[in-house]
Symmetry: C2
Subunit: 287 residues, 2 copies
């Protein structure tokens, strides 16, 4: 009896390990959705720090502190890769996490920055995000690292997250008015590319497009990050290609019911398997 021919992936039991996705709250589900679409055979674990959300109004020190605690919890589930699906945490904590964790860590900023450079024709790019992401200058530095000649403008948009979390959609008059105010300087700057530097913003894409005009390319970090995740798995020979139904699990530090209901809207699918994690079990675990 001969052994069946195996693909390189199937020979590696490490490939069966899950991908872990970490976010400050719910917004990272837009990344999870794209990762699930791009990599349909992978088991996914999502962690949302809903007890301490939002991160976008907090200091780099606090964001690093919380991010490390959450990723250490995820590491106990033995993931093959951690995706930091939160722009604020990617901007503030990625170098720290890479230094202190033993698993590869991917953020959302660098994929978005590369896509913006590839997309712009007039070399004028606008970036929107939370207060902390914009203050960190992470997108500016990432884009300049690829192409230092691109002209950049950025703008914090603190109301977009609460507007999405309240369930408002692109045709809501408040959403339209706020989008108009926030995007005016970017439109006047003449940007032909707009980077959505927050995982909640893809849910407002139609309203943003309406303000920016049809000719502008909107870069959605969620899609770019899913592509980068697939590429990194290929590079590590850890991509699963077999046809099993993947398992999705969700961990949150507060309010699993609110997470399931608001999250199901974001995932455009029913969210089950949500577990509440005790914050005391997360905080200050030995490194």
């Amino acid at each position: 009896m001969t052994e069946p021919a195996l693909t390189p992936e199937a020979t590696r039991p490490e490939a069966a390990r899950p991908i872990a996705i970490f976010d400050s709250g719910l917004g990272g589900l837009t990344v999870m959705r794209e990762v699930a679409r791009a990599l349909p055979h992978e088991d996914l674990i999502y962690f949302g720090d809903t007890a301490r959300v939002p991160y976008g109004i907090k200091s780099p020190q606090t964001i690093i502190h919380f991010s490390e605690e959450n990723c250490r919890f995820l590491c106990e589930r033995d993931p093959k890769l951690i995706v930091v699906a939160c722009n604020t945490a990617s901007a503030a904590a990625l170098p720290h996490l890479r230094e202190h964790l033993d698993v590869p860590v991917l953020g959302v900023v660098a994929p978005g920055a590369r896509a913006a450079v590839a997309a712009t024709r007039n070399r004028r790019v606008g970036i929107i995000g939370t207060e902390a992401t914009i203050k960190s200058r992470a997108y500016i530095e990432s884009i300049r690292a690829v192409d230092p000649t691109i002209s950049l403008i950025n703008r914090a948009c603190p109301l977009f997250v609460p507007l999405v979390e309240e369930g408002r959609t692109c045709d809501d008059p408040v959403v339209r008015l706020v989008a108009k105010q926030y995007l005016r300087p970017i439109r006047e700057f003449g940007a032909d590319t707009l980077v959505l530097g927050c995982t909640h913003y893809p849910l407002l894409k139609a309203a943003l497009r309406q303000q920016m005009g049809r000719a502008v390319t909107i870069v959605d970090s969620a899609e770019e990050t899913a592509r980068a995740t697939a590429a990194l798995l290929d590079e590590m020979h850890l991509r699963r290609r077999d046809g099993e139904t993947p398992a999705y699990r969700y961990f949150v530090t507060d309010n699993p019911v609110r997470f399931a209901s608001v999250g199901s809207r974001i995932m455009r699918d029913i969210i089950e398997n949500v577990s509440l994690v005790d914050l005391d079990a997360i905080a200050r675990r030995p490194s």
Copy 2:
């Protein structure tokens, strides 16, 4: 040589102890401002949990957990009284705090509820607050405990806090539009009294008044709580009446610079003496 006649207060060294004010973030400064105005000789300590703010979107369990940690930190400063200046924490955690702390604890809900009952003429009262405060039904129960015949309507207003924190004021078109949407059912209900069940809302008073009309009484829990604080100190014979310049100290768990700048606007005064508290020193202290 005879002893000088002393007022009862001056004979009690306990009266020199500070009043502690606890809030999830910045909003409680509206209470601090009123307490400072009503009790100009008292030392005040303010604690804002800016690393874990906001509480209004979180579960009762998490709000109780955080509130107890913060109040234990304040108790180490030996206050004569703790004012829970956060509606969300008052609504969710007050009975727990009273049971587990050795110092008298005053919330903002009961003073606001009593003032609403006293103010209404047509016995129709509207209440606005965060998601958690409205869900808790704390104002409804407090008002019904005083007068079960009053008709009540309530409404969560999740955007008001981020609108204030972004620095928007009452003449901002987004504030006006959002206020109109939120208050429409309360106006249609015919309430003659509106309870501001969140410490941020007094900063939007003019916009709320514009929507509700001049005839409506607006109950600001901050003012009511300052009155209740003075009354409780009198009752305990712990009010300071001497003329020393009082000391104000501020503790926050994150971003003292942002706190000082946004907070100075709320206090209408310059905030100094802001100390950053390490969250690890707060979390899980032995009870």
